[in-house]
Amino acid sequence: MSKTVLVVDDSRVSRMMLSKMINMVASGDWQITEAEDGQQAVEKATAETPDLIVMDINMPVMDGFEAVEILRPQLPDTTMILLSANIQSSSQARAEELGVHFIAKPITPAVAEKALAIWSRENE
């Protein structure tokens, strides 16, 4: 059965890039769904229970941190990863506290590989 990944970013180009990178790195294995902001992410994740969520932090309506605060207790088996170009220790610490991972932007094939590797590790 193929796995689902929810890609969340207010930038359409970012979502396109992530989808493309994921397909490049592990094509066929993953079904990709998208959301534009934290609120949509919560709605979709609640309805679809994805295996993996890769989410930008800086978004309008609801940001990445707020969304994972809601989703983390709700979906204990979903691997969650936050993306940002702002990699200061306070953000990384906050991600750790929330029980989610943190990868730095820009979105490259390496980022996609890392995200999938994290999922593999958590689901061995």
Binding site: S11, R12, V13, S14, M16, M17, K20, N58, S84, A85, N86, I87, Q88, S90, K105, P106
Partner: protein, 202 residues
């Protein structure tokens, strides 16, 4: 230059979002304080329209401007601008100056120059990474002047990539502006580069 498509503007916005995100990390490390920066809006417009856009909000207040000339497949002048009051606030917060100052001292001017340099360099290196280009730049220069004086260029029809940025540190929210004034021919090259980038992603 033809108007950029929605997707091209989105790509630009994401490029600058990443650039200011990286700068925020660098500034945070430098000042040992949490720093957040985001890019709410990216515009592409002629210079005179930028002046029109800025003037009502700024009025007679002066702007602190750090500028770097750049050269690559698109060339021109890159500027980071903050209203003078915000600049004073930034140096006060980042240098820990206790004293309410009306004017920037030499140390503070240098600090602002460095902050501008960090942000502008992050923009160039991100643009270079994402659009597969290389840039060379001059060292930053600081001026404090009115909107008109700073943006007064011989050709007021020159295209500007104009970006509003929000800077948050120590619970203070400050608004600044990035402007990339492009030499003739540069706009077309930029659009070309964006198209190439998008083709690679679609």
């Amino acid at each position: 230059m033809n108007d950029l498509t929605v997707l091209e503007l989105d790509a630009l916005a994401e490029i600058f979002n990443i650039s200011v995100g990286r700068s925020a990390s660098a500034l945070s490390e430098l000042t040992q304080e949490p720093v957040t920066m985001s890019v709410p809006v990216v515009h592409v417009m002629p210079i005179h329209r930028v002046i029109e856009l800025l003037s009502p909000g700024i009025g007679a207040e002066r702007l602190t401007c750090v500028s770097q000339m750049f050269n690559g497949s698109f060339s021109g002048e890159a500027m980071l601008m903050f209203p003078e009051n915000s600049s004073l606030e930034i140096v006060r917060l980042m240098l820990g100056s206790q004293v309410p100052i009306e004017q920037l001292s030499e140390i503070e001017q240098d600090a602002l120059n460095e902050i501008g340099n960090i942000i502008l360099n992050a923009c160039f290196s991100t643009i270079a990474d994402m659009l597969q280009d290389t840039f060379s730049c001059d060292l930053p220069e600081l001026t404090v002047a009115s909107v008109d004086e700073i943006l007064q260029k011989p050709e007021s029809e020159q295209t500007v990539l104009f970006i509003q940025i929000q800077l948050a540190l120590e619970s203070q929210n400050l608004e600044g502006y990035l402007a990339f004034i492009m030499g003739s021919g540069s706009e077309a090259n930029l659009q070309q580069a964006l198209r190439g980038f998008l083709e690679g992603v679609q």
